[in-house]
Amino acid sequence: MSIDFSSISQLVEAAERENIAISDVVLRQSARDLKSAEKEVSERMLENLRVMKASIEEGLAPDICSLSGLTGNDAYVFKKYVESGKSLSGKLLGEALYSSIAVMSTNACMGKIVAAPTAGSSGVIPGCFAAIMNNLGVGDDRLVRGLLNASGVGMVIARNATIAGAVGGCQAECGSASAMTASALVEIMGGTPQMCGHAVALALKSLMGLVCDPVAGLVEEPCVIRNTAAASVAIVCADMALAGIKSIIPADEVIVAMGEVGKALPHSLRETAEGGIAATPTARKIESKLFGSA
């Protein structure tokens, strides 16, 4: 049975029909599309996972600092705080948050990352995956399954809406990353394909309308913090879906709505550094200090 990533319901139904996981559906189809063995596709995904893990390590360094000076050692500071046991978020969510900051710091410092789905939203999946890996003992095999599930969801979003901030705002980048992650987490934690679909809808709805307004056009402020927020939304929505909470609006309709909202966003809020946070007086001061004019 072949699929074309045209809808979330297609992924869910294909999985239910054969009593397999969404990651199986994605793996089978991708092996066919890429003319590779399933084992090779999984191994290539494992390489992405390895780079994700390394990008967290690099970003947790106490002395990391970006070219612009806007991004520093927040991940390290946050990690120390979470490890002190005093954090409101607790250990698992706390680790997801500081790990997502770490990846974005690595990115800002010209380190190696995996675009997931983009460089500007590359912290969400690795952050959440590190949290379940280190707190729940989830191994690489299941994490690769999670990446396959997430990539299938991302394919559907890219086909029916967009994953580019310049086209659809931050909801298209961090919103999509969050929805992809939520679905992956549900599968990894033993949820059904239906629950994955609800997780996609819940996460994407939670971040709908988010604008792309990077200070001085750099992938730093507020991108780092938005990745952290999107990681928390992914975990919360995965939990809701696993508990049995259903999205009243189906995932496929939410995806189309996200694309429409993206089209309705003014040019100034789509990665142009002309509106939103990028247009604040402090942002303008930073811009003029960095580039000499504003």
């Binding site: 890429l34 992405n48 070219l67 380190g111 983009t118 460089a119 056009g217 960095l290």
Partner: protein, 221 residues
């Protein structure tokens, strides 16, 4: 599009258009020269002129000239690496009316005196379009093997070029021919192929009647 366009590519940050795209333009200049240049003048236009330092686009272009790929962690130290390798470079900002906001101009030469000029735009997601090569207006994306031929605008030239490719068993995927806007009597033919072109064929085309230059640009992605 496949799943590795969604989870992937593995790349050096911070931005695919400002890092990977900038690197590809430098990489293409190196391809044309067939080696690392000894000297490069790099000019940034538009949004690149504003932000190239903050995004590390300067390091990315030089990384491309050094032959680095978009996932090479050495991009971060490329400016120092170039000095060690014996390549000098200067950065400038430039205003090119009507050009894409993310445009880079590279004028480079090798120690043996080979030189090239490349004008390219980074159009998002690490993709680029080369708009001009050695003063010839072209369109090259690096997605397919490409041959760029500058020729005298007379009858029969295209026939001899396609005849050469046919004799080598090469199937043409896309072909465009246009008269030069800059020089009367000159035309440019751009041929993209699915099957492998090679430098020898481009060299052979150079020897055909009425051909001024013939350049081979391989698929890079």
């Amino acid at each position: 599009m496949n799943i590795f366009d969604i989870i992937g590519p593995i790349m050096v940050g911070p931005s695919s258009s400002h890092t990977a795209g900038a690197l590809h333009i430098g990489f293409i200049a190196r391809l044309v020269l067939k080696q690392m240049p000894s000297r490069a003048v790099i000019k940034f236009h538009g949004s690149f002129a504003q932000t190239y330092k903050g995004h590390g686009s300067d390091k990315a272009v030089v990384g491309g000239l050094l032959g680095y790929k978009p996932d090479d962690a050495r991009i971060r130290t490329s400016l120092e690496d170039a000095v060690v390798e014996g390549m000098s470079y200067t950065f400038h900002t430039v205003d090119i009316p009507g050009a894409h906001p993310n445009t880079i101009v590279i004028e480079a030469e090798t120690a043996e005196g080979l030189n090239t000029s490349v004008v390219g735009a980074s159009i998002g997601g690490g993709n680029v379009i080369i708009r001009s090569l050695n003063g010839i207006e072209i369109e090259y994306t690096g997605n397919l093997d490409t041959m760029v031929v500058e020729q005298r605008d007379v009858p029969g030239v295209i026939n001899s070029i396609t005849g050469l490719l046919a004799a080598e068993g090469i199937n043409i995927a896309n072909m465009r021919v246009f008269q030069s806007k800059k020089e009367v009597g000159k035309a440019v033919t751009i041929i993209e192929t699915e099957t492998d072109l090679n430098r020898e064929i481009a060299l052979a085309a150079q020897d055909l009647d009425n051909i001024i230059t013939s350049i081979y640009l391989p698929k890079i992605s």
